[in-house]
């Protein structure tokens, strides 16, 4: 049998749609799993994306990429490259490994749902590759830290974290469940691939790979680069889905989904990436601040998308989002450092004199907002009162983003509201809006403070909370630099 040219068979294999006659469309695509927004049948047949790939090509490419990263891994394993990395950078990759690899598997569930319940054949074809991508990302990002277990037990959390009720994990899992593990195919395309991957992770992985190479972490850089090339491809499922929604009069629904998930993604992004870029990455290796990265890459990317597709900037952009770029991740960082026994990595305070100068330059007013508090902490370190640098109670967390409620302002109250007799706390107007937009979706989920007050955490002490979170003494976080920074720190008053 003669071998067909790619062009002779490709579109037939990739994009074979047909009208159903033996079953109804609703039976093939149940609303709960697929969601239509009232767009049916042939209205989907024009769905198209720019990456044209056959299964043979996919396997060939992926095998080559795996060969590349695993050979780098085996070469570096015989060196002392990891041992010589900066302690702060090690914190950044441990935080990443706990928060990301298992959710990659979760994402494969979301991709598989689109591969079955996406309403266009070309979309289902693309999502099949996406499913395989996310499995590969989960496997590689668990294998690499597994190889570092002999050096540091905190790497165990690359696999363990998502199976615990650690507070940051609750925040991450809540977001990822909402976005893809428990989402319908249509919303997953808009919220995971268009909003989160196109907007955040694709660009973040580019930046992380670059930073890794700057600090000499060739292994992590190679791993992240390899993943990013997959992200760039499968994230393309969002835009054609969005275009079909817009062309069929569903722009408002699409806009709402983007607005909801951009905000939820932003909060976790600020927690993980914000801290890593501005505090954990060694000062000499920083190429830009987190705020500059957000402005130059993320905001610009979204602005271009909104403009190109006729979408609007989210309603909260000017009033809530842009102002948070100046402060929210600094507050999160202080919280993570102070509550460091509750995380699986060693937070780097990142407030030596030179680092403080950099922070003040990048974020004018940082010393006044945060430096003064670090002065008090530094004084306690200098005078040997380490016990005063540890928490003795829990922070209140937001019932939407599940991150502690922080504020740089004086006397700014959290937003407290009641729903069906249940008291809820929100860190801001936008989180309250997201929650109230789908109360039936969020109402049964308890924050870690709700669980504490409901008696789920026993004994009801900080020690009981650590046990509930799965934190063991060998992984409980401590200062990454063993407090060396305090000698190089200085009072803001000086």
């Amino acid at each position: 049998m003669p071998k067909l040219q790619r062009r002779d068979y490709y579109d037939t294999a990739r994009d074979m749609n047909w009208a159903f006659s033996y079953v109804s469309e609703d039976e093939v695509f149940p609303e709960e799993l697929s969601k239509s927004f009232g767009i049916h049948g042939e209205q989907w047949w024009g769905w198209d994306e720019p990456y044209k790939l056959t299964y043979r090509e996919y396997v060939h490419n992926q095998a080559g990429k795996d060969d590349g990263i695993y050979s780098i891994r085996s070469t570096i394993a015989r060196s002392n490259l990891y041992d010589n990395l900066d302690a702060g950078w090690k914190s950044a990759i441990k935080a990443h490994y706990g928060a990301i690899p298992v959710p990659e598997y979760f994402a494969s569930i979301g991709e598989a749902r689109m591969a079955r319940f996406g309403r266009a054949a070309a979309w289902r074809n693309m999502a099949t590759f996406g499913t395989l991508d996310e499995c590969r990302h989960g496997q590689a990002q668990i294998y690499f830290p597994y190889c570092l277990l002999g050096k540091d037990p905190q790497f165990d959390w690359a696999h363990k974290a998502m199976h615990t009720n650690e507070w940051g994990v609750i925040a991450a899992r809540s977001l990822f469940d909402d976005m893809f593990t428990a989402n319908d195919a249509m919303s997953t395309a808009i919220q995971l691939t268009f909003t989160f991957e196109t907007g955040f992770t694709n660009l973040q992985f580019l930046g992380m790979a670059s930073d890794a190479l700057h600090v000499g972490d060739i292994e992590f850089g190679a791993l992240i680069s390899s993943i990013q090339t997959d992200e760039a491809r499968h994230s393309q499922q969002g835009e054609p889905t969005l275009k079909i929604m817009i062309n069929n009069g569903r722009k408002a629904e699409a806009q709402k989904m983007v607005d909801q998930m951009f905000w939820r993604s932003w909060k976790l992004f600020a927690l993980l990436t914000g801290i890593s870029m501005d505090y954990y990455t060694p000062l000499e290796s920083r190429t830009m601040s987190f705020k500059e990265f957000m402005q130059d890459w993320i905001c610009r990317q979204f602005m271009d998308q909104f403009k190109d597709l006729g979408m609007n900037v989210p309603w909260y952009w000017e009033e809530h989002f842009l102002p948070e770029l100046d402060w929210v991740h600094h507050a999160y960082h202080m919280g993570v450092w102070f509550w460091r026994p509750t995380v699986w990595w060693n937070p780097d305070a990142g407030v030596s004199a030179a680092e403080r100068d950099w922070l003040e330059q990048k974020y004018p007013g940082w010393n006044d907002r945060f430096g003064k508090k670090w002065d008090v902490i530094g004084d306690n370190v200098r005078t040997g009162q380490i016990e005063k640098t540890y928490p003795a109670t829990l922070p209140i967390v937001c019932n939407c983003c599940h991150i502690p409620i922080c504020s740089p302002s004086i006397g700014k109250a959290p937003r407290i509201t009641t729903h069906n007799g249940r008291k809820l706390n929100f860190c801001c107007e936008v989180c309250e809006w997201v929650w109230k937009s789908q109360p039936e979706r969020y109402d049964t989920h308890l924050s870690i403070v709700d669980r504490f007050l409901a008696g789920h955490i026993q004994p009801p002490t900080l020690e009981g909370a650590l046990q509930y979170m799965g934190i063991t003494p060998d992984v409980a976080g401590n200062d990454a630099q063993d407090y060396a920074w305090h000698g190089a720190s200085r009072l803001a008053a000086e």
Partner: protein, 81 residues
């Protein structure tokens, strides 16, 4: 006497905290219970009296939690006067 959870922050701090008090505590005790989780830890200590604010009003230091109308998990702020 009954355990009474509040959410509170000390003015100048950066985070809202879960603070257990007793409904028979007066506001001077409540202020101290909040301060012990922030003052000298992240907020510089001052030799000044402290005050409790709830729903925009300053509560007398002799008023107890039970008398104040504060509900469980309400938010209060404590500040140096």
């Amino acid at each position: 006497m009954a355990l009474f959870p509040l959410q509170a922050n000390f003015r100048g701090d950066f985070v809202v905290l879960l603070i257990p008090v007793d409904d028979s505590d007066d506001m001077s005790i409540v202020a101290d219970k909040v301060a012990q989780h922030a003052v000298g830890l992240r907020v510089a200590e001052k030799s000044a009296p402290k005050c409790v604010y709830h729903n925009g009003r300053e509560l007398p230091s002799s008023m107890t939690v039970a008398q104040s109308g504060i509900q469980p998990m309400d938010w209060i702020e404590v500040a140096y006067v």
